[in-house]
């Protein structure tokens, strides 16, 4: 009995093994009309554009949803669901004229009712929370006629169009009662399915009002393990992957083109000004003098990256002022400042870094080495992302943290608002009276030029007071199989699949 069983067992196993082996085929992904894009994290989020918050979710939703306006690849706002808009003289009423023939993925045309519903929903006027704080400024949404919708504000806000252009203000159909799991939008791609931790399938929307997508099917494959990314690319399971490190790009086979852009964020050692010794501006300046940004870039990304000196990155163009030379590396000066501040022998502090993001971890290691030269001992404390969110970001229980801060919308305020003393998201506890006074002037500034000047002054204030040890806007590397081209970089955190196309052979 026992012998038979064992033999049967063994036979069974052998059969499984042989079927498995013979069934094994090379199975190269075919380049008809589909592309497999690898993404590092799943959309573990609501797919309702008004509720989704993760940057990784919103960059994908960008292909499914559109607002009345949307950003193009230069950062300009272009009309989308609306064909044009006008502002009243007092700056309080925005009047949007809807474009003819815009359809939702379910085939129904976009109506003024849908627009009113969407704006009110995203502003939290129908219950729930408004994700864009600027939207709490909306007083009412009025339907003027079938194609015109007026949005009335409580206070004039020159940045309002930029907020209207985010996916968080996307237009969705009023009759979709499951936007969180079955998204319907007006974008160039339709949502097909989502399989947790496996993939997301998108399909080209044939009735798209604008330039249609080139590739029929887009599969987003989730590859959370950084070590597997290069294997997936080289093995042919994935055709494209954005935001690789420079080390990863060096391991790619010849079948890939590596495109280089900017990440559009400010990587810095953010200092908690509520704790000693970072309440002393000389200490902050000393650290800034001691840190050698070029050396960090050299060691962590082959010299690729864009040094910045304040909380603004170059994609902001007219608002951006280059302050990266405020603190040229000067060890003697740094020591001098430290001595003046009462720390002639240096001190010890901890840099908290979210462990899921390798480039920040590497940068922290270099910074820690550099600071040793002035006798400052920076201990690196790796924490899990959620711990970072709750302890560092919400709880403000940290000394210093190395991360990248990006802009939720293409407005200068998105970068600078958080350094106001009273700002909800001022996690660094930066408190500077000049800064607050300057910021207040933004509300009364008459012209755009005046505002641009104030934004620049604000950046200088942060740089002069060494609010943080500014490092860089990181270089972004995108691997794209040589069967495809058409990848475009945006000054925002988005991926535009509609412009990708298959190369003519």
């Amino acid at each position: 009995m026992s012998k038979k069983k064992i033999i049967a067992f063994a036979l069974c196993a052998a059969m499984t093994a042989t079927t498995a082996l013979t069934a094994c085929s090379g199975g190269k992904s075919d380049a008809s009309s589909k592309i497999v894009v690898g993404i590092p994290q799943d959309l573990e989020d609501s797919l309702d554009p008004h509720e989704a918050v993760a940057a990784g979710t919103k960059e994908i939703l960008f292909n499914i949803y559109e607002g009345l306006l949307k950003p193009d690849e230069t950062g300009e706002l272009i009309p989308a669901v609306a064909k044009e808009y006008s502002v009243s003289d007092d700056g309080l009423t925005y009047s949007f004229v809807l474009r003819d023939g815009v359809k939702f993925h379910n085939g129904k045309p976009v109506t003024a009712e849908d627009v009113k519903y969407s704006i009110e929903k995203s502003a939290g006027m129908t219950g729930g929370q408004s994700l864009i704080s600027a939207f709490s400024n909306i007083k009412e949404v009025n339907i003027k006629d079938d194609t015109t919708v007026d949005i009335v504000l409580n206070e004039a806000d020159i940045d309002f169009p930029a907020y209207i252009a985010t996916t968080t203000a996307a237009i969705i159909p009023k009759d979709n009662d499951k936007p969180a799991t079955e998204p319907v939008g007006t974008g160039p791609y339709m949502f097909v399915s989502r399989s947790p931790q496996e993939n997301i399938e998108l399909k080209k929307f044939n009735d798209y009002w604008g330039e249609p997508a080139n590739i029929e099917n887009v599969t987003l494959k989730i590859i959370p393990n950084a070590d597997s990314i290069v294997m997936n690319l080289n093995g042919g399971a994935v055709d494209m992957f954005a935001r690789l490190t420079s080390t990863q790009t060096q391991q790619l086979s010849d079948n890939f083109n590596v495109l280089e852009g900017e990440m559009n964020l400010v990587q810095a050692v953010y200092l908690n000004h509520a704790v000693e010794p970072f309440d002393n501006v000389d200490v902050c300046r000393a650290l800034s003098y001691a840190v050698d940004v070029d050396n960090i870039l050299e060691l962590t990304s082959d010299g690729k990256g864009f040094p910045v000196g304040s909380s603004m990155f170059p994609a902001f163009k007219k608002y951006y002022v280059d302050l990266s030379n405020t603190y040229p590396t000067d060890i003697d000066k740094a020591k001098e400042l430290l001595a003046e501040a009462g720390y002639p022998d240096g001190f010890t502090f901890s840099i908290t870094v979210p462990s899921n993001y390798q480039p920040h971890v590497e940068a922290a290691q270099v910074v820690s080495e550099q600071l040793k030269k002035i006798g400052v001992n920076a201990e690196i404390k790796l924490v899990e992302w959620n711990t970072w969110l709750s302890d560092v970001y919400s709880g403000r229980q940290f000394e210093a943290t190395l991360i990248g801060v990006d802009a939720s919308s293409l407005t200068a305020t998105a970068m600078l608002d958080r350094f106001r003393t009273d700002a909800d998201n001022n996690f660094t506890n930066y408190s500077n009276k000049d800064y607050d006074d300057l910021y207040a002037k933004l509300y009364t500034a008459g012209s755009e030029d005046e505002r641009v000047e104030i934004y620049k002054e604000l950046q200088k204030n942060l740089a002069d007071n060494a609010a943080n040890i500014y490092i860089q806007d990181m270089a972004e590397f995108v691997a794209l199989s040589d069967k495809y081209d058409g990848y475009v970089f945006y000054p925002l955190y988005v991926q535009d699949f509609a412009k990708l196309k298959i190369k003519e052979q």
């Binding site: 026992s2 063994a10 498995a20 989502r194 399989s195 070590d227 093995g235 959620n386 919400s394």
Partner: protein, 314 residues
């Protein structure tokens, strides 16, 4: 029957304890589902509102027992991250993890028993020493690392499979099995090496016993003695070992899924822990506990068939 009732009680107690521990762990680690969901857009008001909506503001024990209550009635709740029912998320992935575990287990048996018997039979031959060394080597390599080596050798060099590729069981079952084959190898090899060694030692010590000499003196053939007497006794400790290995194999498959990008329970479990999505974590852990207990039950039954001394009432 008694065994089955015992196992069911074991299962209930295990699930109770394990899920309670998971709940406590979630209480102790920083962050919750609301902070995970809102990320850096979190304002204190938005966090409070979301916590309220998710029911996270209720006291610990009320949350635990309400979860437990619905779980025993088959309701696994709604995932905080995905907004869909946990049951629908897990149902489609169960066959993946289960198949991977089973293939690995079958491989362990299929590799270790023939090799174990063979190497004990020809113990003195120099060739056997090579098997011993190879076994020793495999045993010391962690499955995670072995997975990387397997991917490199069979995937990148020999092109036998596409690294990172995967076909779901409902699309093409044959391909699905083929993609699980190499991950299963990575899980099975170290266990198979241990089991081979155990079987070999067990056979060798069994062969020295008096009844073997008696059997030979009765004029039985070597084959007869080997399979009818020695193996039957020598296999008992191996079966015990295989039963214990099973829990390891399930744990190993959770790790190996990461290396081979297989979308089973492993990845879901890790991401759900990071997102503090405890309905998903609890359900996965309960299911894994169930898998381990059920397969252990099968091993126990096998045990009693093979060894009459183990049978009840004797």
């Amino acid at each position: 029957m008694k065994t089955i009732i015992k196992k069911i009680i074991t299962f209930i107690v295990t699930v109770l304890l394990v899920t309670l521990f998971v709940f406590i762990a979630f209480e102790l680690i920083p962050g919750d589902a609301a902070t995970a969901r809102l990320g850096i857009n979190a304002t204190p008001e938005a966090l409070m509102a979301l916590r309220e909506e998710m029911g996270l503001t209720r006291p610990f024990f009320i949350r635990y027992f309400s979860w437990l209550g619905s779980f025993f009635f088959g309701d696994m709740g709604i995932s905080y991250s995905y907004g869909v029912s946990v049951r629908s998320m897990l149902a489609s992935k169960l066959p993946i993890t289960l198949t991977l575990t089973l293939i690995s287990f079958i491989m362990v048996v299929a590799i270790s028993i023939p090799i174990g018997v063979f190497s004990s039979k020809y113990e003195d031959r120099p060739g056997i020493k090579i098997i011993d060394v190879a076994g020793q080597l495999t045993m010391s390599v962690p499955p995670f690392f072995l997975g990387i080596i397997v991917t490199y050798v069979f995937g990148m060099l020999l092109h036998l499979f596409v690294p990172g590729g995967f076909v779901s069981y409902d699309v093409d079952f044959g391909k699905f099995l083929s993609y699980l084959f190499f991950p299963a190898v990575a899980i099975a090899l170290p266990k198979a090496a241990m089991s081979t060694k155990l079987l070999k030692t067990s056979i060798l010590s069994e062969r020295k016993l008096d009844y073997v000499r008696t059997a030979f003196s009765r004029g039985n053939s070597t084959m007869d003695v080997m399979y009818k007497h020695v193996l039957k006794n020598a296999i008992i400790p191996v079966i015990t070992f295989l039963g214990m290995t099973l829990a390891d194999i399930v744990a190993g498959s959770l790790v190996i899924e990461q290396v081979f990008s297989i979308p089973g329970y492993g990845r879901l479990l890790i991401s759900s822990i990071a997102n503090r999505d405890y309905p998903v974590v609890q359900a996965i852990i309960a299911i894994i506990a169930m898998i381990v207990i059920v397969i252990n039950l099968i091993v126990d039954i096998l045990y009693q068939i093979l060894d009459p001394r183990m049978r009840e009432g004797r």
